[in-house]
């Protein structure tokens, strides 16, 4: 039997595969997205915009953006540092570090939230010390930051480690042999080679930081206007049968995600030579 390339498959196989993909994409991705926007705009644009601009809603939007603005840079620094250490160096405890990075993937976010309550809550290990020093972590913004950092911890590092391992240390050694110091090598050789992986990791991290519900829900305390992020605000509105309000905020959350995707596309278009060079 002669080998057949995929382009020579019979038409009905192609049609079947393509329509299967189309149906699943439609059911699982497109339909829910469309319905979010449809529900939000059920009574027209006016009520939707109104629901987004209530003081509680704007406070939740600000808090969500602030959380992402803290979590993403932290994860960039940590992710690049961890991936660089794991992929380019040999040291004692390396496999332990890799396992630790994965912990947030394997632990339920709710459990993660509870751990922070156990440590920093008023009855927790540091509870009385924190109260004495008038520091509030649980049911306050720092707790939300901590919980978000915990759940977004692996995204950048996990994206970069396989990429950097595959690239090896040849280019770094070449840079060193030409007189480049550690920072110079990191900045001019290592980072440019991982920028697309890094960007992808940042997008995932950002999406998760803005969308996290479980862990944040446990430590937030749901104080309107103070400790409610957008996902928590959506739940509250939904439970109060304010469907237009809930779907309006949800639609805004979707828009933020779509915006990051568009940003990624734009960045890639601005760097055409990278695609030519393979990555």
């Amino acid at each position: 039997m002669s080998p057949r390339s995929s382009t020579q498959d019979p038409w009905w196989v192609r049609a079947l595969v393509l329509s299967l993909v189309a149906v699943f994409l439609g059911l699982i991705l497109v339909l829910p997205l469309v319905s979010v926007f449809a529900e939000a705009l059920r009574q027209g644009l006016g009520p939707a915009l109104e629901a987004m601009s209530t003081p509680d809603a704007t406070a939740s939007i600000k808090l969500t953006l602030l959380t992402a603005a803290v979590a993403v840079p932290f994860n960039i620094v940590f992710g690049v540092a961890a991936a660089w250490a794991v992929a380019k160096h040999e040291f004692w405890g390396k496999s332990l570090l890799i396992s630790l990075i994965d912990v947030p993937f394997s632990v339920s976010p709710v459990v993660a939230g509870l751990i922070y309550v156990l440590i920093f809550g008023s009855h927790g290990w540091f509870g009385s010390w924190l109260i004495d020093h008038n520091i509030k972590i649980i049911f306050a913004v720092p707790g939300i930051m901590l919980a978000t950092l915990f759940v977004t911890f692996p995204f950048v590092a996990r994206e970069l480690i396989p990429l950097m391992q595959e690239q090896g240390v040849d280019e770094e050694e070449a840079a060193a042999s030409m007189g480049a110091g550690g920072w110079m090598t990191l900045w001019r050789v290592t980072t440019p080679n991982i920028r697309w992986g890094l960007l992808y990791g940042v997008l995932l991290c950002n999406a998760r930081a803005m969308g996290e519900f479980g862990a944040v829900s446990v430590v937030s305390g749901h104080i309107r206007g103070l400790t409610n992020t957008m996902p928590l605000h959506v739940e509250i509105l939904y439970n109060e049968y304010d469907f237009v309000g809930a779907f309006s905020v949800a639609a805004l959350l979707c828009l933020l995600s779509i915006l990051t995707l568009i940003l990624k596309g734009l960045l890639e278009m601005l760097q055409p030579q990278v695609r030519r060079a393979g990555r």
């Binding site: 280019e171 050694e173 070449a174 042999s177 007189g179 480049a180 110079m184 080679n193 060079a277």
Partner: protein, 342 residues
């Protein structure tokens, strides 16, 4: 610049990569580190470059001890086996890298760097390709870029790790000439690693042959070929027939093979190059199994009366009548004898 390597030792996990290696490389010399894989040749090269550091011993450039100096401080040019070109930079940027990363006060002006890049592109015959990315080049072109990049910083030493290993045979041959030409043009002390004995003998001024972490012999290609210092060198460099036997009363005997030698009695290993076997009426017998006639030399595979396969190269005019199945009588023009320790 003279490179002195003194009793260098290096251990990887539990197996020793280098056991007390000493070597002196003369200024302007083109030296090959030749050995099978796992012989420690790449490790030695990386220690000279400052990419690895020895457990014991010393590396000196001229009279300066650089044993633990960083790669950056040593001013060496290193060409990696897979080239390690910066994939996100153009060819010109790759070549300029070593100059670009210098501190502002040591960095040449932009125009000066551009001039140097153009000059190097010309040297490696890649003029006009400065704007390409490594992914757009062929293997041979990448190799030339790697060479130009290593030379850009005007290194005191040029080190190449299996420089032609990833290339096909024709490109390899032409790049070999190229490296020789560039070496002559720049005069920089050059050390390259290879497992290909033909490459080493063809290109190098001197060859250092490594085996299992030790240097077995250092010498000109002619010396290591004609006066091998050990059984390993003799069998690794060039084609050879090996006979394990003993010397008794001025004759070396191994099965049906008997050769006149000038050596004390005792068990010996004898090596005879295929072209050192000659037709002689009083020689040992060998039956021809296969004949390959290419050009002026006829390659013969034969079998001795004690069933040992041997190879013979005969000049066409000396060969007489040669055909499969015929029996030749052979003697050795030259024999290399070693104690059978290895």
């Amino acid at each position: 610049m003279t490179i002195s390597i003194r009793s260098v030792e290096k251990q990887f996990a539990r197996y020793p990569a280098l056991r007390g290696v000493s070597l002196e490389v003369q200024p302007g010399e083109l030296l090959a580190l030749l050995g099978p894989s796992g012989s420690g040749k790449t490790t030695l090269l990386r220690i000279i470059a400052g990419l690895e550091f020895p457990e014991a011993g010393q590396v000196a450039f001229d009279d300066q001890d650089v044993t633990f100096a960083s790669a950056a401080a040593r001013k060496v040019g290193f060409v990696f086996q897979q080239y390690a070109l910066f994939r996100h930079m153009t060819v010109a940027k790759n070549i300029a890298f070593g100059l670009d990363v210098r501190k502002a006060k040591d960095r040449p002006a932009r125009a000066e760097i551009n001039r140097r890049v153009e000059e190097l592109l010309g040297l490696v015959e890649l003029g006009g390709l400065g704007g390409r990315y490594p992914a757009q080049l062929s293997g041979g072109q990448r190799q030339r870029v790697a060479l130009a990049r290593a030379l850009a910083v005007s290194p005191q030493v040029l080190l190449l790790d299996e420089p032609f290993g990833a290339l096909d045979a024709t490109v390899r041959k032409s790049l070999r000439k190229e490296l020789r030409r560039i070496h002559n043009a720049t005069g920089v002390t050059t050390i390259f690693v290879t497992h290909d004995q033909e490459e080493a003998l063809d290109l190098a001024d001197r060859v250092a042959i490594l085996n299992q972490g030790s240097i077995e012999q250092v010498g000109t290609p002619q010396e290591v070929y004609e006066q091998p210092a050990s059984a390993f060198v003799c069998s690794f460099v060039g084609e050879t027939n090996r006979f394990d036997g003993a010397v008794s009363g001025g004759r070396f005997v191994c099965g049906s093979v008997s050769l006149a030698v000038d050596c004390a009695d005792g068990p010996k290993t004898a090596f005879v190059r295929p072209h050192d076997l000659v037709v002689a009426p009083d020689g040992f017998e060998a039956q021809i199994v296969r004949v390959t006639a290419q050009g002026p030399v006829i390659q013969i595979e034969a079998q001795t009366a004690s069933d040992q396969p041997i190879e013979i190269s005969l000049a066409r005019q000396d060969a007489g009548s040669i055909a499969v199945g015929l029996t030749l009588r052979l003697a050795a023009r030259k024999i290399h004898l070693f104690d059978p320790a290895d």
